[in-house]
Each structure stands twice: as structure tokens, then as C-alpha cells.
Symmetry: C3
Subunit: 145 residues, 3 copies
């Protein structure tokens, strides 16, 4: 039975931004020595999500546009008027970031089989920045035999 | 290798409602004696989801408003006309609840490192009631060493 | 400590399509001999998701309609114009499929307690085809004692 926990510190540049962390997760999996098990990939944030999709620049722009349509960055949010002030210490309004995050999620679990992370041909694991650029932490937890 | 399974029975009051279950998950993690591993948090329902976000009342209202825009409670759903009758035994129409649930999800996995659930500073784990108030079950499954 | 990895090859017929894979996951759980643990259900694709909801035909039509509203299949996507050509080898435009996938997700974790997959009364596990009909792979990874 093997366990490995690895934390990645990532500086994002803007929001939205899709940061491809597949290689980091793959390296952590290799380092863990796990042959069969899985990796839990977890964002420690409420405005930055973990998602798996294709890393194709035009597609990433499409997905950013969809998120903006669902929860527009210039929309009206109660969180921006009142709550934001005490909860986020005066940072830029981010009601839309939280709403978008609700639809994406904080974790994905990816199987490891015969020592390899078995993501499909087009699958890449992303940290999705939904707020503005800042320091982020992603925890990759590996378990298996 | 340690395992602990704990079921929480929760009475929700209305829908939508965000019920903060972080302390329950944290207590289950402590009780499990797991030092390194993770907690799988799972809702046993199709109209109540598990999500992680910030517990700020104005923000929760924003997120409820967004869900209502995406799948309005007074919208038209085939499930309400025909299917609902036999599948949910005459309860209130809940096509919108199922549609919203599809976008949120039934589970999240949260890492445990050095005996602590490593949620970020603003992260709280929620059971999100999307139907009307009723009895709900959340299963927290802990695994690790 | 027990591990079992099982891959299911599924031929989908059209998109969108909800394919109920609950029995396959349940069989894999039984075969694994795991008494307490969980199943990670993972789609190896970026346009086919894993979700849990009720298997009621009228409701599935409602959910398909909602997905079409959020990211219309005839909408405009940069991925369809330019990127699609090299990344998907000339298949049918699928920008909407990727966008919808982003909102659903690639994995769910389902607890196993006392030898049973403890899905709730109405919960069914689906592979959700968001592109056109094709061959798909779902990996079910079982871990526990």
C-alpha cells in the first residue's frame, strides 16, 4: 500500500486561464511508485477549479466564453456589494468566479493502471483560474499498490 | 490501512439551500485515525449535490440565483408532466432540481495530510439541496494510512 | 487491501445520449471482493462525461435540452473553425460537446459499504455521450478492504 501527497504551487496570470498540470500529475504518479490505484487532484480554492478537457487554444477560448455567458464578470452579485468586503479583504469583485466554480468543481480522480495515469488521448488535466492571477495550490494525492 | 464509513442524516429545510457539512466531514476524518489519505463525500440523491465553495450568505444567494437562471424552477420539464408522477410518487415537480444536479455532481474527494482535512482557507463543503426540504443522506468514506 | 481495475468498452449511438452503466459498475464492485471502499468511475474522453442522476426517459430529454441551451450544437465555436481540423482529424464539429463536458466532468467516486455500492434509490450512473456516436472507454477502479 503506497501513499504520496504532493502540493504544487502555481502562479496564475489572469482569469480565466486554463493551466495544464497533466505533466505535474504524471510526475507525481511516477514518483509515488503506485502501479494500480489513482490520483486525486484537488484545488484548495473556491475560485479555481480542477477539470479535464482538451488543450486546444481555440477551444479554451470557447470555454472561457461559455463561462462568461453563464456567470458574466460584469454581472450583478450580492457578494460583490457587501460580502466580498469582509471575506476577501478588498480584492477585486469575484462573485462570477465563485458561481463559475460551483459549476466546475474542486476535484477529479484519475486512475493509475500498470504504473501509468490512464488519461485518454485528448485528456489534459487543468487548474482553471476563474478569478484574477494569483498564487494557487493544487494537492495531488496518490494511493494504490 | 484504515477505512471508515460514516453516514450523516440531514434534514434540509427548503430548496435551494446550502448546508455546510465541513465540520461533520472533519470530525469523521479525525475519528477515522487516517493520517494520509482522503475523504470521499457522496450524496445519495439525484436532486441534492456535493460542492465546495465559500460560506458567505450573499454569495450563496448569488449562486442560488444563477442555478435558477440556468434551470428555472417554473420552467417546462417533461419530467414534471409525465415521468414525475410515477418516479417520485406525487411529490412536487422537480425537473429543474435534476437539471441543476447534473451540473453540480454527487461527490467530491478531499485530501487528508498529516491528520488534517486540507481544505483551503475559504473552502467549505456543502450539501446543496436543489429540491424542497426533506431527509437526506450524505456518506463520508475515509481511506488512508 | 484489494484493487481491481476494469475497463468497459461502450459503443454510443448518438449525442447526446445517457448510457446507464450502473449494473456494470455494480458487477465490477462484486467481482473486486471489496467490502468497504469505493469505486472511481472515469471517462477517458473530453466529450463524454460521467454523471449520476435518475434514469427516467422524460427527464433525460429535459437534461439534453438544458445542455443544448447552455452550449448549443449549432452555436459558433472557434474550435470548430480552426482547431478542430487538426485535433480531431476532420470529425464533425464538436465545440459544444467540449463545453458541455466542462460543466459535467470526467469522474465520480461512489462508496462501497458492506459489499454493496451504496447508490441511493433513484441514483443511476451514466456515461453521457456529448459528441456523436462512437467507441468509448470507461474505467472503473475499485479500492478497499
Amino acid at each position: 500500500m503506497k501513499f504520496l501527497s504532493q502540493t504544487f504551487n502555481i502562479r496564475t496570470e489572469k482569469g480565466p486561464q486554463f493551466i495544464d498540470i497533466t505533466d505535474s500529475v504524471r510526475n507525481a504518479a511516477a514518483k509515488s511508485g503506485v502501479s494500480n490505484g489513482f490520483a486525486v487532484v484537488f484545488s484548495r480554492h473556491t475560485t479555481a477549479a480542477i477539470r479535464i478537457n482538451e488543450n486546444e487554444p481555440a477551444l479554451l477560448a470557447d470555454m472561457e466564453r461559455m463561462l462568461e455567458q453563464i456567470a458574466p464578470s460584469r454581472g450583478e452579485y450580492e457578494h460583490n456589494v457587501f460580502g466580498h468586503a469582509f471575506s476577501n479583504n478588498g480584492e477585486r469583485p469575484n462573485g462570477h468566479s465563485h458561481c463559475q466554480h460551483l459549476l466546475l468543481g474542486a476535484s477529479e480522480a484519475v486512475p493509475i493502471v500498470d504504473g501509468s495515469l490512464i488519461v485518454g488521448a485528448w485528456q489534459r488535466i487543468f487548474l482553471v483560474e476563474l478569478d484574477h492571477g494569483r498564487d494557487r495550490e493544487v494537492v495531488v494525492q496518490l494511493v494504490g499498490e
